[in-house]
Symmetry: C2
Subunit: 461 residues, 2 copies
């Protein structure tokens, strides 16, 4: 019996325990965006610290940053002649409110139809635990893993990792590895596993329009006051051209065009209109007609309003002209768009179309660079073999529409490939009400991660 | 000494007591729009009931409606050969939150610079108390007022009086009067008192746009999903024409054109750009360039966005495509626009410009008819004399930009003139943070109301 066979048997035998541990982590509302949850973030970090220590990892610590802390732990028992893999995951989650449409409490995990429902189930507590459990399965059977493993868990991914890059720079020697693996992505269907070779970047901004110094009585002043909500609406309505393309001058200038070869590969995983409508519930497809659906949601940049606010949103009427109106707006970027340049273009454009009847502020909230990797590197091929043997299906290489801002930064800083092995489903509802994670996929993920450590052992250290 | 002279002296001698009573009423957060304040509404009604009983009025009662109750009380001691005046006021207020910009608690009244700061100070608790104190001043001196007085206080004016009309219909005999007086309006400056002969009407609606069934991850689905916030913005941006007129087809069809004579009268009370900017804090004037500022804010219809909401408005970024987006929108109407017809035009237009990529709902919240009275009736002339003698300045007749929905209905139902004697200032900040009422104007208002009762005695009963 090879060490991976024993580890895989151990994982199957301990499936219930692993699930119970996942549920423990999902009970902690580790929201990174909301300062009111700082204590929960800390409780969550402490949980992982205790758990990694319990599994026998070394140098386990909750390490401070300028924001929420990082959890680190390592097992280097494979020795210096074996490769080292750096596992990255994030233990923070996005907000979740019952009134957004949750059927059960987002922080009281519920099992139903073979899935576990909770905020963070798939993004990313379920997926990150897979690698910890894969390592445990080796350590509790053979007493050793085939490669050295370093585990790095951050608490600020959902607020665009403002402090991770300085942390990595400061601890570059501690973190040194031959490959980085991240499981924070998803596949279209359970038997179509996907390895991402590209992620979109991000420019996230806030626009606020100011009119009168206070809310005004709409009867006394209405008719001669430019309503800031109306002014905001007029500005935002000019962000798109009638043909569905983004109207900000220069927005597309740095986009690397898709090659015919890649468009052909993407076409093989395209979604039909019906599939897209089924998955999202939208009444009809929208977007730039020059690109197919898969290209629009993964290989092309976007511009979305993420939030709008002004005046009275409570029950009943309130007859005011609001003093101000605001929105959150973000752009998903592709190579080689620079997030700061895109912000400058957005701000300049918004300022240029704002009338003198109101005042506007455009503020940058966060940025993240897009990532693009070749998909024929040894580490990528090892991941493909791991899916074949551990998951039971050959993976496709695809572009991811989402952003993991730190991916491009890790690759640039550490000069190593980043392998994005997703174990979630596109339809897991991440960032949405009723987020869920398939228990079967949690278990097949652990099997795949176990095999991956063995496959990585064949790489040069 | 005439009875009005004694009453005026009594009012001057009891100014501090009257102010203390006003402050008592301002401590009760009688918000009509928010069901959480139903008990406060009731406490407020009970306060007025107790106060009117204490002053010796008859038939004093808190009378039920399908919503918040009416407070009623009458003094008919002048006898059937004297006219009867129906005083209408409202004891409910609009919401007030510290975070909207209040410098002090809106329900802990503060005296500063000769003003009393609190929600409801000018709208309408301060103004309605003026008439109660005028009546008291007669009853406590001569023991009788020059005319019969009926007092009707409602608790739903700020939510457009949904139950007052049925109440008046049911109690039409109880309420019968020769003239109705309402003090719920304002003047431009303390020495320029104004009697309104027109009020704008109201159509208040909610628009909601629906896209995906749940909030979506903007990375996974962005690019092929019509963002409901963007769709709403695109719809709302088409409500106005580039020339500042409202784009809803048929919107202006029933507007009675202003006569050259009235435009000349309005021109005499026009505001300069500087005065308007000073009063509101806006950086520049806006609106339909075919009309002057005073016309825009009082004699022309408007369309304002009163609230906007969608997605994430909390701190930090959240990368979602919101499932829906909504707004509150209202139109101030002028004669002869029908509020229900205007709603139909708005709904039809919004539906016609909504793309198939989203679903829209347009819901009517409330309506109110515009009012227009001749300004040469005996009751109006009596009011003008009351200002000359009681306030110390001749009033102007103007159009009011605000809406008191019940004014047109009372006039139509009871076949009596409604006299709108405003005792507030345009700059009192009603419906805004730091609402205030000048203590001097409270006192001069009581003097004026005392004289008005005497002037009304000359009218035929």
């Amino acid at each position: 019996m090879t060490s991976s066979t024993a580890a895989r048997e151990y994982a199957r035998a301990h499936a219930n325990q692993f699930l119970a541990e996942l549920i423990e982590t999902l009970r902690i509302p580790s929201l990174s965006a909301d300062p009111a949850h700082a204590d929960d973030i800390r409780r969550m970090a402490d949980w992982y610290e205790a758990h990694l220590k319990h599994l026998g990892l070394q140098k386990v610590a909750v390490m401070p940053t300028a924001g929420h802390p990082v959890v680190y732990g390592e097992w280097l028992g494979a020795g210096p002649d074996k490769p080292t893999v750096l596992v990255y995951g994030h233990y923070d989650v996005v907000p979740a409110l019952m009134e957004d449409g949750w059927e059960t409490d987002p922080f009281k995990p519920v099992q139903k139809d073979g899935k576990i429902f909770a905020r963070g189930a798939t993004d990313d507590k379920g997926q990150l635990l897979i690698h910890i459990k894969a390592l445990e399965s080796y350590l509790k059977t053979a007493g050793a893993a085939p490669v050295n493993v370093k585990i790095l868990l951050e608490g600020e991914e959902e607020i665009s990792s403002p402090n991770l890059l300085p942390f990595i720079k400061e601890h570059i020697d501690l973190l040194r590895a031959d490959v980085c693996v991240i499981s924070d992505t998803s596949m279209r269907a359970i038997d179509e596993p996907a390895i991402l070779h590209s992620l979109r970047g991000m420019t996230y901004a806030e626009i606020e329009v100011f009119g009168p110094s206070d809310d005004l009585h709409s009867g006394l002043w209405g008719g001669a006051t430019h309503n800031p909500a109306l002014a905001l609406v007029e500005i935002l309505s000019k962000l798109y051209n009638p043909d569905g393309t983004i109207a900000i001058p220069g927005f597309y200038d740095d986009v690397v065009p898709l090659t015919p070869e890649e468009r052909e590969m993407i076409a093989r995983t395209n979604l039909t209109d019906e599939q897209f409508k089924e998955a999202t519930g939208v009444p009809a497809i929208w977007g730039d007609p020059h690109y197919n659906i898969r290209e629009r949601i993964s290989a092309r940049p976007t511009l979305d309003i993420n939030g709008l606010w002004s005046g009275w949103a409570g029950p009943g009427p309130k007859t005011i002209i609001p003093a101000k109106a605001g929105c959150k707006i973000s752009s998903r970027l592709v190579g080689n768009q620079d997030p700061h340049k895109i912000f400058d273009l957005l701000r300049d454009y918004v300022e240029s179309i704002t009338p003198e009847t109101v005042r506007v502020e455009v503020r940058l909230l966060t940025t993240g660079r897009a990532a693009l990797f070749p998909f024929n590197s040894p580490a990528m091929k090892a991941a493909a073999r791991a899916y074949e043997k551990g998951w039971g299906a050959s993976p496709v290489f695809t572009r991811g529409g989402g952003s993991i801002p730190i991916v491009a930064e890790i690759a640039a800083l550490m000069h190593i490939p980043v392998v994005l092995m997703g174990f979630g489903l596109d339809s897991d509802g991440l960032h949405s009400p009723n987020e869920r994670f398939s228990i079967e996929m949690f278990e097949r993920g652990i099997q795949t991660a176990i095999v991956y450590l063995e496959e990585l052992a064949q790489l040069p250290a």
